[in-house]
Symmetry: C2
Subunit: 499 residues, 2 copies
Amino acid sequence: MQSRIRNEQLKEKIMSPMEASKLIKDGMVIGTSGFTPSGYPKVVPLALAERVKRDNEKMKLTLYSGASLGPEVDGAWAEAGILAKRLPYQTNKQLRQDINCGKVEYLDMHLSHSSQYLNYGILPRVDVAIVEAIAITEDGNIIPTSAVGNSPSFIKSADKIIVEISSKQPVELEGMSDIYMLENPPMRTHIPIKTPGDRVGTPFIVCDKDKIAAVVFSDMEDHVRDLAPISDVDRAISKNIINFLEKEVSLGRLTKNLLPLQSGVGNVANAVLAGLCDSTFENLVCYTEVIQDAMLELMQCGKIKKASACSISPSPRGLKSFRENIDFFKDKIILRPLEISNSPEMARKLGVIAMNTAIEVDIYGNVNSTHIMGSKIMNGIGGSGDFARNAYLTIFSTSSIAKGGKISSIVPMVSHVDHTEHDTMIIVTEQGVADLRGLSPKEKARLIIENCVHPDFKEQMRDYFNRACEVCQSCHTPHILEEALSWHANFVETGTMKK
Amino acid sequence: MQSRIRNEQLKEKIMSPMEASKLIKDGMVIGTSGFTPSGYPKVVPLALAERVKRDNEKMKLTLYSGASLGPEVDGAWAEAGILAKRLPYQTNKQLRQDINCGKVEYLDMHLSHSSQYLNYGILPRVDVAIVEAIAITEDGNIIPTSAVGNSPSFIKSADKIIVEISSKQPVELEGMSDIYMLENPPMRTHIPIKTPGDRVGTPFIVCDKDKIAAVVFSDMEDHVRDLAPISDVDRAISKNIINFLEKEVSLGRLTKNLLPLQSGVGNVANAVLAGLCDSTFENLVCYTEVIQDAMLELMQCGKIKKASACSISPSPRGLKSFRENIDFFKDKIILRPLEISNSPEMARKLGVIAMNTAIEVDIYGNVNSTHIMGSKIMNGIGGSGDFARNAYLTIFSTSSIAKGGKISSIVPMVSHVDHTEHDTMIIVTEQGVADLRGLSPKEKARLIIENCVHPDFKEQMRDYFNRACEVCQSCHTPHILEEALSWHANFVETGTMKK
Ligand SMILES: CC(C)(COP(=O)(O)OP(=O)(O)OC[C@H]1O[C@@H](n2cnc3c(N)ncnc32)[C@H](O)[C@@H]1OP(=O)(O)O)[C@@H](O)C(=O)NCCC(=O)NCCS
Ligand SMILES: CC(C)(COP(=O)(O)OP(=O)(O)OC[C@H]1O[C@@H](n2cnc3c(N)ncnc32)[C@H](O)[C@@H]1OP(=O)(O)O)[C@@H](O)C(=O)NCCC(=O)NCCS
């Protein structure tokens, strides 16, 4: 493992995770590698949590990352009460609870804003960066593992850097990353990527080696998670999206190789992609955030030629297949910094087809991706806004009902807006598709109600809309303010949105 | 005037406005030049309205434009009942009423989406384009007047083109426009503009001369409007913004020449800019949509070096000064197509400082720019989202109260969301500034309540927020769903938001 530290001097910095954890002091800002349960540091965060609990130490930290992290950070640190502030995204159960009872302040940000805020000097600088690496080069530069995320910005900003050299991450990952950094305005120029497969940077993250304060060895795997089996609802959503895309091809608006695909995270997103395997589309490319199982499978069956992302985050089964075929995947996958993978400039230039999942959608096409009943955070907006706002096509999908049918995921007014009516284009449920492009609010409402709402809620929704039109004499966006959020209030009070 | 038609063949197409108007048939899609009351066609639209009224003709049209238009189109066509559908923006009183009673379907779109939707083949093609011009070149290309707007896309899309040669628009406008067009993905490349003053295109709009079906002469001026005198509230808002920017400079985040400024339309926006005259900032540049009076004055006093926009839209007084000093302004102003002036790529690359006006803002920083009491459209989102979403700094300002103090412009929950909490950064009222960057929702709420809410509503707002925190046990974004929109409902019912 020592051979992974190609700079002799830095071998003197080898220490145990516990020793390295002592670099982290109360009140500090910590920035970690990692994006979804992939490429994040493990042994140092665990050592810190252990020490804090053992010694009953006072320790409150601000934690920056690329996106969510595995349980060895978000879970362990929440459990140990270490977190004061967290950004820009999380998916951890314990941490979510802590955020939703005021223990942790959470900044739910557009992912593309996170490194930018740091580079612009708006967020406090990073005191200590902890990054998982394949190796350190002769010059002290860092080869990332399965995620690039915000590591380049954290390494640039940090006073001190702790490197976790992972023995579990395959050395073949070296060369998969393409690190290109943006200057701040007014020095910023355009991003020279013309197609998703272009390499425009270095295979390592430039690092001032004098800032590397500790090097530790890690034998812990990414804590990847199983995907739920694809349900009938997921399959119906996937089929509806594919039918819609096929119609676009037949109308001459898209060709059979579509445009670069971006796909959100989670079960529905994976199922949608999986459906492409049996489609007539071919020579596809992806410009996305995260590579999940279905994307790997689509490469193996030859449907996808190239995929640009900022992390590889498969299930345990997907990970096994990825590792076994890593040479096959190596020239097809490019991992980029978040600021590049989620760049609005790239999304609009390439004309990305953005496919993300909603918690709820309202009859005018506003989308809530983050809040349960308007108040409690679920995960966060993640990169969905980065892509949705600037994409060629913006597709949001959701099951038409939730919680066994007690909740309609189409509501009169969403209880929180993450994507406005101006940004959303195509709404898909297992019931059908609503293509909102070129429609006025009332036209959108009629289409969403007829095509997307679950039959159990259709009459109730038509009734709301008709009465709203009557009350405001068919004004631009009819609402009955006293009733607009009553479906949610009803659910909270009675356990169902049904009247 | 004939000399303005530099192509001999096209002189044969000269006709009267009334004759030209006959090219317009029931059910057609019409695309016009113009952006705010500037650069729009006048004599043909008026002739059409007259004819329809006189002959009681059946005529329902879809109207595309760059942004709002003068009363000779939006007003006259609404009055004559000609409009079935309108996009992407309007500010006309009669038309607003027609939209808010269901007579006209209105698509309130991000301006940067409008030409894109047309170019992508999503919106129906233009049957007839009507464009105001300074001249037609030897090759049949068109020299725009005081606005470029969406004219290039409409001219490209249209079956037939009517050109209104204006005798009132000064010939010196020739050379001010810089027409650069985007390809559709996947052929799209980056926009080669590096600084706001760069010229990268042609001074004319490329036009297939065989599509020019009529040339008419017009002696009508742009129907520019007076600005309201700057009020104490406007002045306080302006001062607060300038103080904030000065603090950013002192923190080293900005230099004294700031970053390219974008400024919204209307009285508040103009007042904010006017305040810059006495500031210490210098060598400013603008990358914006519309050039109003204050921007012209800032050029004259040497504060602003260059301004890129897609129209010049001063008051009558400002127009006079512009005309008298047109040679002075000529090399300082560049007029671009909307797709370029409002490009998200440009806003993020240049690091624009976006300053726009809100109708209302909520305690979590969500902004409503478009709807009165959640249902009735005011104007539309315009370009505010194009800039706000991708800017270096996103500033929204509003008076803290409206309608003589009966309305608090800061509310528990906005009744419509145009800019989400993820997009907004700085909220300014005459009361003060709330810098929301890097804050969690509860931190944002406390700051907005203390710094921006009017004293008359502060206690009521604190009370809402405190009870919301209690009810949901300090969850991520505390709300009481039954009460969140009750301030609006109260106003509608009782004429005041005061409890
Ligand atoms: C929206 C999102 C939560 C959906 O995730 P998913 O795994 O596909 O969806 P699920 O149907 O399993 O729903 C997740 C949970 O939300 C609940 N839920 C779904 N719809 C709901 C609704 N309308 N009201 C209340 N709860 C709802 C589900 O019941 C489930 O709750 P549980 O965990 O208690 O069982 C997820 O996609 C997300 O966090 N998106 C935002 C970030 C993003 O888009 N990232 C990608 C950008 S590249
Ligand atoms: C928001 C906007 C309407 C403000 O315009 P303005 O002229 O600066 O502001 P005013 O204070 O005069 O308000 C306009 C009207 O809204 C009303 N209003 C303002 N705040 C209100 C509130 N909170 N609730 C209800 N009505 C309100 C005013 O009373 C006034 O009504 P009136 O015409 O009946 O007197 C205008 O900036 C706009 O349309 N913005 C959206 C588009 C945009 O941002 N374009 C620029 C992008 S580059």
